[in-house]
């Protein structure tokens, strides 16, 4: 079920120019500096160690990975030419393409081995390599991973931009987290970092493009750096970022609030880009505390909420109503499973379930944070609905992000938690399901049915079996009310009209972009 967003209609009226940016009608031009504004500085520029969006925006320009994701999020080769997987699924032999590091050194398998060994020690998603027992470099252009058991999700894992499996020179491999020199093989090289001000990247003239592709493709493809430099400025105030774009001081604004975008869309010097979907809007359910231990109580919450009202208010109208725990059109999209339990708005059913649950007015804590606006919106509107429609004794507990993020790790102190899941659905099914299975297990209660399905998803060699596992997972998430998916929300980015070939993606890519 997909509904039109109020914003979408407005943007469509702004002109088709914004949507055909991908067509390079104007000759490519070399030179110049593009300034990209983002809300926050990166917590770290050590790509392997952080999953922060604000780091990814920068590090994907500096480092590349063996495999990456294409425009549609599919797994495709990047620094590897391809991979040969042994029949038992336990040996992955990667043939490496030619690439050069920013220090002038050619990339070899020794660099890849050192990078992967480092990732296993300090990498943010090191669990991906949990079953790898050996990294080998039998020849300069061959890298081998040996596993203790088949892991069909391995390529999905190492190609994810969440905390990239960045390939760096061998001499960086032994360095601790956050202590490396920023040397990669990407089209831009690190030049300067002034905390709270900017990061400056310069074009890497020695860049070796991937000739297996014809053009930019997601985080992979044939990349060309046209710009002399890219300056990523950190501008915390959304109004100031929008004003800077309007005044022509910046070229790209990575995040524009919907009301500001409505105003800017009339400006002929600015192109507004809507990225839909950007993330799932979800309410995480803590199954371990008080009435939440009772399935009927959780089902009452699932039945009563008006999902559309919540997601619409929380995201200023930039949303779409989808029930799937994978994006429609994706390989693992599970069709209509669970749809009958999605956005029911059935007060009578909810009241009956609540009565059957034996709820006696215990306080329910709805955890949210004020750092991310849609989290706050979901918490406030959700709390109000549960009070008004069902008479549940709910308290909105809105704190800052680090506090909420820390609180949810413990089973006590909260019952519902508002969250946006962005990178997980982009990555595919493994991290969406993994978010609710052990060890992450946001519900704080192990669910054997969900674990069994997750096990099949991780280990089944055949795609059809993995798709079935994901469908079973989705069924279980609705039946057990593991979490509530309210829908998908989008984000809006903006660029000056002279920024050619800019196309929004999971990070503002400044390769294959030039200034007219």
């Amino acid at each position: 079920m997909i509904t039109r967003r109020r914003f979408h209609a407005a943007v469509a009226g702004a002109g088709a120019a914004a949507t055909v940016v991908g067509a390079p009608a104007i000759a490519q031009k070399k030179g110049g500096e593009a300034i990209v504004a983002q809300q926050s500085p990166p917590p770290s520029l050590d790509a392997q160690t952080t999953s922060a969006q604000h780091a990814r925006n920068i590090t994907t320009h500096i480092w590349e990975t063996l495999y990456a994701r294409d425009e549609a999020g599919n797994v495709v080769p990047d620094l590897a030419e391809g991979v040969n997987i042994s029949p038992d699924g336990m040996t992955y032999s990667f043939k490496l393409r030619k690439a050069k590091f920013h220090n002038g050194k050619d990339m070899t398998s020794a660099d890849v081995r050192a990078s992967m060994e480092r990732y296993k020690k300090v990498g943010n998603s090191s669990a991906v390599l949990r079953d790898v027992v050996a990294f080998e470099a039998p020849s300069p252009d061959t890298f081998v991973m040996k596993l203790s058991k088949p892991v069909p999700s391995l390529l999905d894992g190492i190609s994810s931009p969440r905390a990239p499996f960045a390939i760096m020179p061998e001499e960086q491999g032994g360095k601790e987290a956050n202590k490396i020199d920023y040397i990669g093989t990407g089209p831009f090289q690190f030049a300067e970092y002034r905390p709270d001000s900017h990061v400056l990247l310069r074009r890497f003239d020695g860049y070796v493009a991937n000739t297996a592709y014809k053009e930019r493709d997601g985080f992979a493809g044939r990349k060309t750096a046209h710009l002399d430099s890219v300056r990523i400025r950190f501008m915390p105030e959304a109004g100031a970022r929008a004003a800077a774009l309007e005044a022509g001081e910046i070229h790209v604004n990575e995040l524009i609030p919907t009301p500001a975008a409505q105003r800017l869309k009339a400006n002929r010097n600015i192109r507004i880009h809507e990225m839909m979907p950007w993330a799932f809007q979800v309410i995480i359910m803590n199954h371990s505390q008080g009435p939440m231990q009772n399935l009927k109580f959780r089902q009452a919450i699932q039945a009563v909420l008006d999902y559309e009202e919540i997601i619409a208010i929380a995201n200023d109208g930039l949303y779409r109503m989808t029930h799937g725990w994978q994006h429609p059109g994706g390989t693992y999209f599970a069709g209509d499973i669970g749809k009958e339990l999605y956005n029911q708005k059935n007060v009578a059913k909810a009241k009956q379930l609540l009565a059957e649950s034996g709820y006696r007015g215990e306080e329910i804590v709805f955890l949210g944070d004020s750092t991310i606006a849609n989290h706050k919106g979901v918490t406030e509107v959700g709390t109000e609905q549960l009070r008004r429609l069902l008479g549940i004794n709910v308290r909105a507990h809105i704190v800052d992000w680090p506090t909420a993020s820390s609180m949810r790790l413990k089973p006590e102190g909260w019952h519902l938690w508002a969250l946006g899941m962005g990178i997980e659905p982009y990555e595919g099914p493994f991290n969406v399901a993994g978010f609710f299975a052990k060890p992450q297990m946001q519900t704080h209660v192990e669910d054997p049915i969900l674990e069994e399905a997750f096990g099949r998803l991780q280990s089944s060699p055949q795609l059809a079996d993995r798709q079935k596992a994901m469908a079973d997972l989705q069924r279980r998430m609705y039946d057990n009310v593991t979490a509530i998916k309210l829908g998908d929300f989008g984000i809006i980015q903006g660029a000056r009209a002279n920024v050619e070939n800019f196309k929004p993606y999971r990070a503002p890519r400044m390769w294959d972009v030039w200034l007219a």
Binding site: P43, S51, A52, A240, L419
Partner: protein, 315 residues
Amino acid sequence: MIRFLANRLIAALPVLFIVSLLTFVLIYFVPGDVSAELAGPGASAADIARIRSVYGLDSPFHERLLGWYAALAQGDLGQSVLLRRSVTEAILERLPVTLSLTALALVLAIAVGVATGILAAMRVNTWVDQATMTVALAGLSLPDFWLGLVMIYLFAVQLGWLPTGGYVPLTENPVGWLRSMAMPALALALTQIGLLARMTRASMLDVLRQDFMRTARAKGLPNRVVIFKHALANVMIPVITVIGLSVGILLGGAIVIEQVFSIPGVGRLIIGGILRRDFPVIQGGLLLTATVFVLVNLAVDILYAVVDPRVRYDR
């Protein structure tokens, strides 16, 4: 005077110790730490524990407290996890930015505020008095972040006279520095201009009614001399007190203004530290702020002696 200064500086040490201890304890018990920022929302408790271990965030309270004071005794404010540099280095990089912003705002506030207050007092109960005090009240009432955003829209977007934000170091480009500082300093100063104008007016009116003022006029002294030599010197005692307070308020206000105008100063460093739980940055930043407050108070006391011959600290 030297003995007075020495006593005041010694007396400041317990204050700074209490500030540092309170800061440490409060931060320790606030939920979350830098591992949440590094790990991201999908992290498990095990992921968080691993990162906490890597950065030594899982040490017991007493170990961390002792470590903090042991380092502090050697002048070491610690190492920022996120900035890859020492806190001292991070603060020293930003201190000139914040101090120059505060100084510029203070100069503006004193020049405009005191002059406006004197003018209003000399034209008391006229339209000049009414108009200046109304504007002063408006300046006092409007939030500086709102003023900042309005200024950005007006002077940067509509008129294109000034940049929307950012910072140009004075040593790199003095004109660029002034352009980057003009709006933030004005937004920051407006509240204090209103406060100083109203304070100066009230003090001036009080002094103008004193007997010695009547005597000065009776002696036939020109109005300029009466006002600027005899009245102003007496007005300055309470005004200096307010200026001292203003420095503190301006330093506090700079935190918000630095956010609005994307200026990499100490305020933004502390806010960033708090939002991302970079504990050494918060501790170091707050200790620095407390030190600046102590020094400003001391400077105000010294200024009393400079402007008022009756005040002596050497007896």
